[in-house]
């Protein structure tokens, strides 16, 4: 797995989009996102303690990219459910909730001309985030806050990437 690690970036999706020529499945991982964002420019609070990464996807049909976006939420929820014995709720298409509060956000961005030229899927998971600002504490939570357990971010990253690769292979066959 090719991982480009950063201490801090504005956004892993933005960084990935700047990496012209990077191979498909390159992962951009950052400890912090200064300006993490979701769909329609919504902010994604990204302090140290969370798992923030983007994956450069192989070129695909726009329909397949939409499918992988939706399946990514299932892959994240499945990983969390199996590893922590909790019941995550998938709020399609882009969020995973735990106990009614947001734990993961997913954003796929494409660059399109006559065809899809570049695609990146960004995933932010509140893994070991210790606390949230007042305005977010009713709508966001972390796995550590809910389960009391420390999350192995690299293990979770690997499981999600493997899941994405397997599903992408299946849907683009």
């Amino acid at each position: 797995m090719q991982i480009e690690k950063f201490k801090s970036v504005e956004s892993t999706n933005k960084k990935a989009k700047e990496m012209k020529g990077a191979l498909p499945w390159t992962v951009v991982l950052s400890e912090v996102q200064e300006k993490g964002y979701g769909r329609k420019g919504g902010e994604w609070y990204s302090p140290k303690g969370g798992l923030y990464f983007s994956v450069i996807l192989p070129k695909g049909e726009i329909d397949d990219l939409q499918t992988i976006t939706i399946l990514a939420a299932f892959i994240v929820a499945k990983t969390i459910k199996e590893d922590f014995n909790v019941e995550p709720l998938i709020k399609l298409p882009n969020d995973v909730l735990l106990n009614g509060r947001k734990i993961c956000g997913i954003l796929t961005e494409n660059v399109i001309g006559d065809e899809v030229k570049f695609s990146v899927i960004g995933i932010g998971i509140n893994t070991n985030t210790e606390s949230f600002p007042l305005e977010l504490k009713d709508i966001a939570t972390s796995l550590k806050m809910e389960t009391g357990k420390e999350v192995d971010d690299m293990e979770m990253l690997e499981k999600i990437i493997t899941g994405l690769k397997n599903q992408f292979k299946t849907i683009s066959q």
Binding site: R39, K40, G41, E61, I62, D63, L65, Q66, T67, T69, I70, L71, F74, A77, K78, K81, E87, P88, L89, I90, K91, L92, P93, N94, L97, L107, T108, E109, N110, V111, I112, G113, D114, E115, K117, Q167, T170, I171, Q173
Partner: protein
């Protein structure tokens, strides 16, 4: 594997099964299969064959224009980002295949566009 999902405040019960060559998703009584059969359940869109020699930027998907980055009369380069389209639950940067001067911008921010619709005309 069983899941509950929430779409616009309504909860659905989902069963997700990985089967040979694909994934089967059961929502209530309905089953949807993704996989080698290439069944397209989530969208009906097809790719539009565009004529690159014609200096028009055409939308290849239906969606909402969220930002326009260029102005009429502006000279743009091939590959330049001209607008963003929020579509199919993804954010899409639309780039021009051709360089040229922008004659007409036919859409504005917060406008819904259809697949195949001309967005920008170049000279």
């Amino acid at each position: 594997m069983d899941f509950k999902i929430k779409i616009k405040d309504k909860e659905y019960h989902i069963e997700l099964k990985e089967e040979k060559g694909g994934v089967k998703v059961k929502i209530g009584d309905k089953e949807f299969a993704f996989g080698s059969k290439k069944e397209k359940i989530l969208t009906q869109s097809s790719s539009i064959k565009k004529d690159s020699s014609k200096k028009e930027i055409v939308s290849s998907l239906s969606g909402l224009v969220t930002s326009v980055f260029v102005k009429e009369g502006e000279n743009i380069k091939a590959g330049q980002k001209v607008l963003t389209l929020s579509a199919m639950k993804m954010e899409n940067e639309i780039v021009s295949e051709n360089g040229g001067k922008i004659k007409k911008i036919l859409v504005k921010e917060n406008q819904q566009v259809k697949e195949g619709e001309v967005l920008i005309v170049l000279i």
